[in-house]
Amino acid sequence: MAKIQTLSEAVAENIKDGDTIAFEGFTHLIPHAAAHEVLRQGRKDLTVIRMTPDIIYDQMIGMGAVKKLVFSFAGNPGVGLLRRLRDAVENQWPRAIEIEEHSHAAMANAYEAGASGLPCAIFRGYRGAELTRVNPNIKFITCPFTGEELAAVPAHRPDVAVIHAQKATKKGDVLIEGITGVQKEAVLAAKRSVVTVEEIVEDFDDVHPNATVLPFWTVTSVVKVPGGAHPSYTQGYYARDNAAYLEWDKISADRETFLEWMREHVMNETPDVFATRVAPLKVQG
């Protein structure tokens, strides 16, 4: 049953040291505000799952909050490499992190299996790919009807899923529109969930019958954080802040610059700052 809370309450109640957390959002709707609150509350030893770690995990890794990363593509989208992640993997700064690396297909199937209550996913994957050598969580099973070999990976079953969405109702039902990514699956696969939204509305009576909706009883905590996906975007609300993605390449290039930036823009800020960040990026709703 969803509680409507503040971001501070939602993170304090749902995210603990050592938890396995999936922050999801595929280019669109990346839950940056929630991740910043997790850093402010000083969570550590997290196992973080995400198809595309990008800036959100570059920040968490750079701040030393991450023990293990489960992922499939670690780039700064449209810009380049993730420099804090590289520093952690190549130089163990600020700490060593474990890596469990998959393909997108494996990650998407693992979320889907988690949402389906299955222990594993099967798919036609990884043929001739060397990740099978370095990731013991990739196995193969044989189709009992055709004899074909299919790849198998364990289902994702995170302790917590954290996502950003367009709207919630007062009861806590959540609406996701546009590029919906793996967020519905991540929430359904997780034990708990924190959902930040742009706005809270009376009901979804005017919404398309087949829209992507998470009922209130599948969500643990709903928080209104306008702009909470910045610098990614929220369809119908504001555009991607491309300058911030380009700027990140420079900020993250140097440890001190990074730490200074995080102090100023994350550690000493509040969730309210996100609304002001997206103000110049508004689009027609």
Binding site: F123, R127, A129, E130, K184, Y233, A239, R240
Partner: protein
């Protein structure tokens, strides 16, 4: 005749290889420019799919990422990412997938994972993303990459995605039934796999490019087909449409960056 850059030649050559009834899995960068150039010239009905779930998209400007809002706004429909990988990619509905990477070998195997040892990498690259399954599930694969000794290597540090494996029938030996890389389009030439060995051989040189230039920028002994053609230069229309596309893209995205 208009002057053109090697990158423009590469993009135009890739666009020409696409047909009106193709269904393409598009990546960011050169593939995105090539696919949209094809759509705006000879292949108006081509279906462009980005792995974010956007199907039948027709962006007016090139996207910054595979999940730009513009892709969703102009798509016929947008599906979830699990559905994209299950029903659409694994379902065998994609005729052409584009790949590129940090390292490529002569059989079209690609590395986008690490330079150096996996556990102690010299450079930690982004990783495979969709590539391991794009490489085996699409009808065929087009590779676009600029030639360089750093990128075109004799031996990959890591095999992120399968091309023709060790050559010959090795791809089939992995239980893969799709064609794999059928075309490598670079800034210098067009390469196609030898029908027997599956090693890439140069079948067409771009205007003004010599065999020596091609050989000097790959880390193996480059082979040339019995008949090597010359890639027709970009037409005025192709260049105009491509440059307009880039100009619109710069105007749209540049504005947001100031």
């Amino acid at each position: 005749m208009t002057a053109f850059t090697p990158t423009e030649m590469m993009t135009v050559a890739a666009a020409r290889a696409l047909k009106n009834d193709d269904v393409c899995f598009v990546g960011i960068g050169a593939p995105s420019a090539a696919c949209n150039l094809a759509r705006l010239t000879h292949a108006p009905d081509i279906t462009l799919i980005y792995e974010s779930g956007t199907i039948g998209t027709a962006p007016d400007v090139l996207p910054l990422s595979i999940g730009d809002g513009e892709l969703c706004d102009t798509a016929l429909t947008t599906v979830s990412v699990p559905e994209m990988f299950r029903y659409w990619l694994q379902g065998g509905r994609i005729t052409v997938g584009f790949l590129g990477g940090a390292q490529l070998d002569k059989f079209g195997n690609i590395n986008t994972t690490v330079v150096g040892d996996y556990d102690k990498p010299k450079v930690r690259l982004p990783g495979g993303g969709g590539a391991p399954e794009i490489a085996v599930s699409c009808g065929e694969i087009f590779i676009t990459m600029k030639q360089s000794l750093r990128g075109f290597v004799d031996k990959l540090d890591f095999i992120t995605s399968l091309g023709h494996g060790k050559g010959g029938n090795d791809r089939a030996a992995h239980g893969v039934t799709t064609k794999g890389p059928t075309r490598l389009i670079t800034d210098l030439a067009i390469w196609e796999p030898d029908p027997e060995t599956k090693e890439f051989t140069v079948t067409s040189l771009h205007q003004g490019v010599t065999r020596e230039q091609v050989s000097a920028t790959v880390g193996w002994a480059a082979k040339f087909a019995a008949e090597v053609g010359e890639t027709p230069v970009p037409t005025a229309e192709e260049l105009e449409v491509l440059r307009d596309l880039h100009a619109r893209t710069k105007a749209a995205h540049g504005g947001g960056n100031e």
